[in-house]
């Protein structure tokens, strides 16, 4: 293995995802003016509950999404500084820390307006621009931090705003018949979570003072279901080697599938992505020039380092083709959605968050993806402040090696805190893994 050529950008990103970037930017711009437009705003965390908010006529702000956006634009610092000043320790989930920092800033802005002391917070700072919530909804699967984070946001806003918690039990696998989307446990928790969504609908009706629009929910879920099918069909095309699109293109498509409104534009977006990938296959264009290794990415993205890591993997002729976060989340089982009666399928998706499984399910999912995408190696992003993501990683690494002979490496970083990333370690560990893969290949050839 030779050292990577640092100068050449070997990535070839999809063009169609730029439209998603624009749709997402427009979405946030729209959120910032919600109050001026007299809209009710809900802050929520975790599961993609946005179709319910859309049907209830609300504007919605997803905590992790906003923290990720700030980090991706390198604008997270004011929020994190406000959080640190308030007392949040740097080892706390950086999504939570960033978003709580935003809450502190938003709350300060409100009280400054009330006291007439305007201007202490720079209104231009993106972090302070979030409209204050009218209420909160929490539906965090798998991670206790996610749930507690909103319990704290509620307190930052002086315990005055209503909050609704959807409790999503973990898919732990107590019963012998338990597995991914099967077994008695799965059916039972699906019913439990669905019941809570029904309660959430009543809560939303109460908050908005309007009857919930079930037809609108069905309609938006019909778009989401279609968009999801297109996304999965397009992902399937990337099982081909060399891959026409990479994991990074799927990362670029997270925002649209995770929280943009369910409408025709969403369907058109994923149709566009799929069409571009199909065209690439026809034209023989690959996502990474000279793909020599196919790697799976486990961990939440290091949003600060997205472009950097995209180029870096490519420099080593590595095509990152799939990942736990992109491929095991976001309406990834559209057949579960019954358009006429969507609540159960929605509840089931919330339970299928890749952070909500016990180790056994995760092993099953990982092995399936390794086979499907002909993976040579796994990059474990040891996501410093996200224990939900890191919990099973070393055990997954051992399983992959034992069951499929797939090598892996760990690198440090974080979702929204650049300071945890260590570049030297990254290079040396990636190189070591690629060398091990080369040695393995030589043995197979011999």
């Amino acid at each position: 293995m030779t050292l990577a050529d640092q100068n050449q950008d070997k990535t070839n990103r999809l063009k169609s995802t730029r439209l998603g970037g624009k749709m997402t930017a427009d979405y946030w711009d729209n959120i910032f003016t919600a109050k001026e437009r007299g809209k009710h705003v809900v802050w929520y965390n975790g599961a993609a509950m946005n179709p319910l908010f859309q049907a209830a006529g609300l504007e919605w702000c997803h905590g992790e999404a906003f923290a990720a956006r700030l980090a991706a634009q390198h604008l997270e610092e004011p929020a994190q500084a406000a959080g640190a000043e308030y007392g949040y320790i740097g080892e706390l989930c950086s999504y939570a820390r960033t978003h709580l920092g935003c809450a502190v800033l938003t709350q300060q802005t409100i009280s400054e307006r009330q006291t007439g002391v305007v201007g202490v917070v720079d209104q231009q700072e993106l972090a302070a621009k979030l409209p204050a919530p009218d209420f909160f909804v929490n539906g965090y699967a798998g991670c206790s931090t996610g749930q507690q984070w909103d319990a704290m946001t509620y307190r930052v806003f002086d315990r005055k705003l209503p909050i609704f918690n959807v409790s999503l039990p973990m898919l732990w696998g107590n019963k012998p018949d338990a597995g991914y989307m099967r077994g008695e446990e799965w059916e039972e928790v699906s019913t439990y979570a669905e019941g809570q969504l029904r309660e959430l609908v009543s809560f939303l009706e109460h908050q908005t003072g309007r009857p919930f629009d079930w037809d609108l929910l069905s309609e938006s879920m019909s778009y989401i279901k279609r968009a999801s099918e297109l996304r999965l069909e397009a992902m399937q095309l990337c099982t081909l080697a060399p891959t026409p699109a990479t994991y990074w293109d799927w990362v670029a498509s997270i925002a649209p599938i995770n929280f943009l409104p369910g409408n025709q534009a969403l369907v058109d977006y994923f149709a566009g992505v799929k069409a571009e990938i199909q065209q690439r296959i026809v034209d023989g264009i690959s996502g990474v020039a000279n793909e020599r290794y196919r790697v799976y990415f486990d961990g939440i993205m290091n949003w600060n380092k997205l472009g950097f890591l995209t180029r870096k993997f490519a420099e080593y002729d590595v095509a990152v083709v799939a990942g736990r976060y992109t491929h095991e989340s976001f309406w990834q089982e559209p057949q579960l959605i019954d358009i006429d009666n969507p609540l159960r399928g929605m509840a089931q998706h919330y339970l299928l968050c890749p952070l909500n499984h016990g180790l056994r399910n995760l092993q099953e999912l990982l092995l399936r993806r390794l086979d499907e995408y002909s993976i040579d190696g796994i990059a474990f992003h040891s996501t410093r402040t996200c224990r939900a993501m890191t919990n099973p990683q070393s055990m997954l690494a051992k399983s992959a090696e034992r069951e499929r002979g797939v090598k892996s490496f760990f690198f440090e970083g974080d979702v929204a805190d650049a300071s945890f990333y260590n570049d030297e370690l990254f290079d040396s560990r990636l190189e070591a893994m690629l060398e091990a893969i080369d040695v393995q290949r030589m043995k197979t050839l011999a």
């Binding site: 080892e91 798998g142 507690q148 704290m152 409790s167 973990m170 107590n174 016990g358 224990r387 055990m395």
Partner: protein, 382 residues
């Protein structure tokens, strides 16, 4: 005390001996809300697994270094076989790091039954109690299977009584300390509570009664000492040397809301009605009596509770003991700080680590803290 110390220091040896003497199974459970009564009632020994003193070796390859000391230690104990004495493991709480550690047990000891009865942690909802009832019923079935014995209501009612009696006695020690009439150091108090988590409950109660007979109860407390409240530290017991330094600096610990402390014994299980249903009632009431930051609720607040405790114990300073990397604590800490500051109560944050912390630095910090309180006494929260 010596008996309790031996048990608290080495719960695994105690469990081994108990098992040999009784030829009955031993079940390991985890903090912070597991109802041990249910294991006791089927004739097995319930043991809340403790952080081990030994340095972490094998466990390093299971969980990353940025996990709390307790979870890293549990993963380590599992991988080096130290938990093999247990016939099964049960967990009711869903702290994300704890679940990682318990999965590490499943991974390294696949032959052992590991059951997760997830108690809903959002406490205010109408569906929480029925859901927890359901999990307790599952728990009962699982424990019956592992222990190979049937749980009867009568046995459970007897166990509930036994645990209540033990908790009441421990709370009596707390009352004595709070009043200042008995000098019970923070590390002694920890010993009393920690041993109750791992020892046969009847045996423990007998030792407590003996101790109560022997304890010196004075008329008045010395008033030159700064009365302190210890707050926080979930899941595992803070190291006794830290507690000792806190008191050697001129502070007198009169109360706490530590898990291996008052939080653990705060609430009794109702003794009337259906005993299984009483266990979920206990779970809900416990959070009202001593609000826990790992639970989600709007009805009660840890900060308000803390201020009320300070008033009751006439504490003038708070030492926050935080296990490094403990997320629920890191999330709640700013609210505590805000509430204490608003009431003029001085506080000191001490982060603890499995590997230990530099004791001399801590001593200096503590002495400064106590001195600061002496010079600027904070008003008692009203």
């Amino acid at each position: 005390m010596a008996t309790l110390r031996t048990v608290a220091d080495d719960p695994v040896s105690y469990a081994l001996n108990w098992k040999a003497a009784h030829s009955r199974p031993v079940i390991g459970s985890f903090p912070m809300n597991f109802p041990s009564e249910i294991v006791h009632a089927v004739g097995a020994l319930p043991v809340i697994i403790q952080e081990s003193k030994t340095p972490i070796t094998e466990g390093r390859s299971m969980l990353a270094e940025f996990y709390c000391g307790y979870t890293r230690s549990v993963a380590d104990q599992a991988s080096i076989g130290e938990l093999d004495v247990f016939d099964g493991f049960v967990v009711a709480d869903h702290c994300v790091q704890l679940l990682g550690a318990v999965d590490a047990i499943r991974y390294s000891r696949p032959e052992k039954p590991v059951h997760f009865a997830q108690f809903t942690s959002a406490m205010d909802d109408a569906w929480t109690k029925p859901r927890v009832d359901g999990r307790i019923s599952d728990l009962k079935t699982e424990i019956e299977t592992v222990v190979r014995a049937r749980l009867t209501d009568a046995d459970l009612a007897r166990s509930i009584k036994a645990f209540n009696e033990n908790r009441r006695l421990l709370r009596h020690f707390y009352d004595l300390r709070r009043s200042g009439r008995a000098r019970i150091t923070a590390s002694e108090m920890q010993l009393l509570v920690k041993s109750s988590m791992v020892m046969d409950i009847h045996e423990h109660t007998a030792v407590l009664l003996e101790l109560l007979d022997r304890i010196v109860v004075r008329d008045e407390a010395p008033d030159d000492l700064v009365r302190l409240h210890l707050s926080g530290h979930f899941c595992h017991a803070p190291k006794p040397e830290i507690l000792d330094v806190i008191e050697e600096s001129g502070g007198l610990v009169v109360d706490d809301d530590l898990y291996t402390g008052f939080r653990y014994i705060s609430t009794d299980v109702p003794e009337d009605g259906d005993p299984l249903a009483a266990l979920s009632t206990w779970y809900l009431e416990r959070n009202i009596n001593a609000p826990c930051p790992t639970r989600v609720t709007n009805k009660v607040d840890w900060d308000t509770y803390l201020l009320e405790s300070l008033e009751a114990s006439r504490s003038v300073g708070v030492v926050v003991l935080m296990a490094k990397f403990c997320e629920p604590h890191m999330l709640y800490y700013p609210e505590l700080r805000k509430a204490l500051e608003a009431h003029g109560v001085q506080s000191l944050l001490i982060e603890t680590e499995h590997e230990g912390i530099p004791i001399e630095t801590l001593r200096t910090k503590m002495e400064t803290f106590v001195e600061r309180i002496r010079r600027h006494p904070s008003p008692l929260p009203a």
